[in-house]
């Protein structure tokens, strides 16, 4: 879909994130990293590899296992002139510092009448795929879209990961940047030259005319596979990758529904109270008249993530379930 004006190179999602951090740290000395195991170890998924050697211990700070202090100190540094990028190794650990994120990071600018800025990026990762069980496999993004004051970004491709992380670091608002553990090794084209992607812009990742498939993060890959299969049967699927959940690009969603009149939402998080519930209601409020069929959701099961590979696979959407849902909405 994308036409590059400049030369491109193929890199992994991990490298894309690493390049974004490197470029922004080089560009602005106020940017620094603070988290667990990001130094010599290079981050649990290797995203910060090599940065300690390039920028030193002052700017690549290995911390104790103290999630609340990581977030709190990130906030304090952000309020006083720095641009920290902190990390919670697995989103599953975020409950430990939820008070800091919910009550401090997200609220402090508003509570103080706009008299402070909080240029803080909280990187984390989520999702299933490594059979790590209930404490290392969650998709908790819907918790955060319910908290006014923090933006939520979830890239699916190396191109988006790099461009969105760079923009997030330059944004003067707090941002929860959620990566996916099964995307780090995926590859994609990114421009050789510098680029940024604005937050709050969904992207049509595949054009189609029969059904709109709305998704984000790893589920984009499953949705693309499903669309390929459906195309063989003559069904044309348009895929919207939300890329950021807050701000949510309702405009792009409505434009697509006006064309297809049918919607399937594909999400990895638990169905109840999930992202699809919000997106679905946005559609009901803003585009009901264009719908020819009920909105369908293909979502994660409402269970703690089980360890067994066969159960883990059953707990999240797959290509077959997406294909089935698309066909049902066309009936």
């Amino acid at each position: 879909m994308r036409i590059y004006m400049s030369k491109t190179k193929e890199i992994t999602y991990r490298q894309a994130l690493n390049e974004a951090l490197f470029e922004e740290m080089k560009r602005d000395e106020k940017v620094f990293l603070m988290a667990e195991d990001i130094g010599p170890y290079g981050g649990a998924y290797g995203v910060t590899l090599g940065l300690l050697e390039k920028f030193g211990e002052e700017r690549v700070r290995d911390t104790a296992i103290s999630e609340a202090a990581i977030i709190g100190a990130g906030l304090g540094a952000a309020m006083t002139g720095m641009r920290p990028v902190v990390e919670i190794m697995y989103i599953d650990f975020i409950g430990i510092c939820m008070g800091q994120i919910n009550n401090q990071v997200a609220k402090i600018r508003y509570m103080f009448g706009g008299k402070t800025k909080v240029p803080l990026v909280i990187r984390t990762e989520g999702g299933t795929g490594r059979t790590l069980g209930a404490h290392h496999s969650q998709s908790l993004e819907s918790w955060f879209i319910h908290i006014p004051g923090i933006k939520v970004v979830m890239p699916a491709t190396p191109y988006d990961a790099k461009g969105l992380l760079k923009t997030s670091i330059r944004d003067d608002n707090p941002i929860l940047f959620i990566e996916h553990k099964m995307l780090y090794n995926t590859k994609g084209e990114v421009p050789e030259e510098e680029y940024l992607i604005p937050l709050g812009q969904a992207e049509v990742k595949r054009k189609g005319s029969d059904v709109t498939l709305i998704t984000y993060s790893r589920m984009l890959l499953y949705s693309l596979e499903a669309a390929d299969e459906l195309e063989k049967e003559g069904i044309s699927v348009e895929i919207i990758d939300l890329r950021s959940l807050i701000p949510l690009d309702v405009k792009t969603i409505i434009a697509s529904i006006k064309k297809t009149n049918r919607v399937v939402i594909v999400e990895e998080d638990c169905k109840t109270g999930g992202v699809g519930a919000e997106v679905g209601m946005q559609i009901m409020e803003n585009a009901f008249d264009y719908l020819d069929a009920p909105i369908k959701r293909v979502a994660g099961a409402d269970v703690p993530m089980p360890k067994s590979p066969i159960l883990e696979k059953l707990a999240i959407p797959d290509k077959e379930r997406i294909v089935k849902a698309v066909k049902e909405t066309l009936k």
């Binding site: 609340a68 202090a69 990130g74 304090g76 540094a77 006083t80 002139g81 508003y110 608002n173």
Partner: protein
């Protein structure tokens, strides 16, 4: 002590006392709505500690934050208006008593969560160190925060990175209703610092000169790059935890014994005895402060409420 400095310290303490008495009065008349945690009795701690800071040094405050805000240069009319939820308040009426903040004065904010600002203070310490500005940070918190996880996480982080933060515990003996003796496993609270290899000191929090002396020492220590410290200032809040508190957990005799050590009376006596100020001068000062508080109250009461449009303003940059 220079006369000018003595007047400054005494005036600040009187401002806090009268500000709090006024808030209590406004709460009683339902002019101030919601709750408010009053600082009366603890004035020597905020004024003493903050008086040794430079204007660009940082503080973080607590749910009992009016005293810190006034001591850190907050403007009385703006603070009073904020507590009444007015558009002219220091946070445009969006914060209130629990969230008084004035970043232009280095006050990184009061906080509705016990221990909620310890991380912020620690991060400000990182920032100061990275920007090489020689600023210092005082993190105010109560004895209740001693048992929050982030207290331990923050002191550990500050110790490992030698951050210029003075962790100042205002021990007013009760975390809401539960006494520090019932809640906290160590009797000598300074021993908590041993776990982080941080120097610690106990201070008479009713004596402003003692507070100043101790805080000055540890501010210099932090400014010289020697790292964090932990101070326990023993003090007492005259009012209850909040307006609904009937104070059943403490005796009137105990309250009386602390009022006998009142920080304003104590300091006034010293100034008279030392021939720094005369009694009439002190009375005159008190009167002037009263006028300022009345003016601030009038400003706040006559100020407009926020416009409806303000609801969605200031969420994001």
């Amino acid at each position: 002590m220079e006369k000018e400095e003595a007047i400054f310290l005494l005036k600040k303490m009187m401002q806090i006392r009268q500000f709090e008495d006024k808030i209590s009065e406004l709460l009683g008349k339902n002019i101030a709505q919601g709750g408010s945690h009053l600082y009366a009795g603890e004035e020597a701690v905020a004024v003493g500690a903050i008086s040794v800071l430079n204007p660009d040094d940082y503080i973080t405050s607590t749910h009992r934050g009016h005293g810190h805000a006034i001591a850190k240069g907050g403007k009385l009319p703006e603070l009073m208006a904020e507590i009444l939820g007015k558009a002219t308040g220091v946070c445009k009426g969006k914060g209130g008593s629990l969230h008084l903040a004035d970043l232009s004065q280095g006050n990184l904010g009061a906080n509705g969560i016990v221990g909620g600002s310890l991380g912020i203070a620690t991060g400000a310490g990182i920032s100061v160190k990275m920007r090489k500005t020689k600023q210092v940070v005082i993190s105010f918190f109560g004895d209740g925060a001693l048992n929050q996880g982030i207290f331990h996480e923050s002191l550990n982080m500050a110790a490992k990175w030698h951050l210029p933060v003075i962790y100042l515990c205002e021990n007013n003996l009760y975390a809401m209703s539960v006494s520090v003796k019932r809640a906290t496993a160590v009797e000598d609270l300074t021993r908590r610092a041993l776990a982080y290899d941080i120097p610690a000191e106990k201070v008479d929090g009713m004596d402003i000169l003692a507070v100043r002396k101790a805080v000055k020492k540890w501010v210099d220590f932090a400014r010289e790059g020697k790292g964090p410290s932990f101070l326990v200032c023993n003090t007492y809040r005259y009012y209850g935890h909040s307006r609904s508190d009937a104070r059943v957990y403490r005796t009137r005799e105990e309250e009386k014994s602390w009022r006998e050590k009142d920080p304003i009376i104590l300091f006034s006596k010293k100034l008279i005895e030392g021939n720094v100020l005369k009694e009439e001068e002190i009375k005159d000062l008190e009167k002037k402060v009263r006028e300022k508080i009345e003016a601030a109250t009038k400003f706040a009461m006559e100020s407009p409420l926020p416009e409806p449009e303000a609801l969605y303003e200031d969420l994001y940059v």
